[in-house]
C-alpha cells in the first residue's frame, strides 16, 4: 500500500486533466496570497486553535512551503492533530471539507468540529491508495 500526498494523487488521477489544473495546484502550494478561487465576499474567518472532543483543531492563514498543497480554502488552512483537512469555501461564503463534502457549514471552525465528530477518533491520513 502506498502513501502519497493529496497533491500527488490529484496529479496522478487528474493527470489527463491537463497542465492548467496542475499549474493551478502548484501555484496554490507556493503562494500565500489569496487565490483567484477565493470568494470575494466577506472578511477572512478568524484563526482558531482549540481542543475539541480530544482532538486539536487549528485554522488560519495557509503558509507556503509545499506541504499544504491542493487546498482551496482561499488561503485558509485547517488541521486536525496537525494533519491537514482539505477544505473549500463555497461562493456563498459557506465551507465544506473532504470529510463533510455535501453539507456546507458557516465557518472553518464548525467544519473542523464536524470532521472531528465524523472521524470518531480516527486520524486523518494523506490520501491513501491501495
Amino acid at each position: 500500500m502506498s502513501h502519497i500526498t493529496r497533491r500527488r494523487a490529484l496529479g496522478v488521477a487528474a493527470g489527463a486533466a491537463g497542465a492548467a489544473a496542475g499549474l493551478a495546484l502548484a501555484g496554490s502550494a507556493v503562494a500565500d496570497a489569496p487565490r483567484a478561487a477565493a470568494p470575494a465576499a466577506g472578511p477572512a474567518p478568524a484563526p482558531f486553535d482549540e481542543v475539541y472532543q480530544g482532538r486539536r483543531i487549528q485554522g488560519g492563514p495557509a503558509h507556503g512551503g509545499g506541504h499544504h498543497g491542493g487546498h482551496h480554502g482561499g488561503g485558509y488552512s485547517v488541521t486536525i492533530d496537525g494533519e491537514e483537512l482539505h477544505v473549500m469555501q463555497n461562493a456563498d461564503g459557506t465551507w465544506i471539507s473532504v470529510i463533510n463534502h455535501y453539507e456546507p457549514v458557516a465557518t472553518p471552525k464548525s467544519l473542523a468540529r464536524a470532521a472531528v465528530r465524523e472521524l470518531q477518533g480516527a486520524p486523518l491520513v494523506p490520501l491513501t491508495l491501495g
Binding site: 490529484l10 489527463a16 486533466a17 492548467a20 478561487a37 470529510i99 490520501l127 491501495g130
Partner: protein
Amino acid sequence: MTVRKNQASLTADEKRRFVNALLELKRSGRYDTFVTTHNAFIMSDTDNGDRVGHRSPSFLPWHRRFLIEFEQALQSVDPTVNLPYWDWTADRTSRSSLWARDFLGGTGRARDGQVLDGAFARSGNRWTINVRVDSRDYLRRDLGAGGRQLPTRAEVDSVLAMETYDTAPWNSSSDGFRNHLEGWRGVNLHNRVHVWVGGQMGTGVSPNDPVFWLHHAFIDKLWADWQARHPKSSYLPAAGTANVVDLGDTMRPWNDVTPADMLDHTRHYTFDTAA
C-alpha cells in the same frame, strides 16, 4: 441494449450478479480507480476556478459519462449486469430491500459506523476501503442519522419544473435546474442523499459505497425526465465561458467527450419507465 431498472424491481438473481460484478471489480483494483478519479475532481472543482465534475453545468454530463464507463466495467465482468437506480422518493427508509443482507447491506453500528452485514461488510474481506482520507478501512453508513429525511416526490417535481438548465455564475450559487438538482441551493436533492446515507457517502471518496452508483443513476434519470418535460430547454452555457465546460467543450479526464455528446442517453441505455 442496456436497460437500467429500478433497484426495487430486481430479481434475486439480478441482485446477486450485480453484487458479484462489484466484488470482482474491487478484487481486480479497477473499482478503486473510479474512487480516486471522483475524489480528484471533488477536490479540484472550485466555484471560481476550473470546474468539471461538480458545482458546474457539466455535473450532469460528467457523471453520465462516469457512470457509462463504470457500467461498461461491470459488463466486462458479467454482460447481463446493468446499473440499477435508487428512487429515494419511494424507497426512503433504512428498512428498504436496498439495504438488505442480500443486496447492499444495512446501516453501520453506533460505535464506529461499520457496516456489519452483506457482501460489503469488512469481515468478508472483500470490500476494504483503500482510497480513503482517514485511517478507517471499512465501509461505514449512518442511514437517516439525526432524523434527516430523503427528498420527497413533491420536492423532486418542484425542481423538474424549472425551465432553465443553469445560469451564471455557473457554480454552487447558480439558479436553475442543475444547481437545484445538485443541491447547493433550494430543496437540495443530490447532496442531501449523500448526507442521509452518511459514512463514506458524505465524503469526497463517496464511490467507496456501492450505493453511490444507484444514487447517481437516479440523478441521471432525473436529468432525462427533465429533458422530456422541457424539450425546448437546452444545456447551458453554449460557448465562450471561462472555467466552465460549454456545450461543445471536451470534459476532463477523458478529453474526447462533450456535454453535447451526452445529451441523448438512449444512445447508451434506456430506463425501465417511459421517460
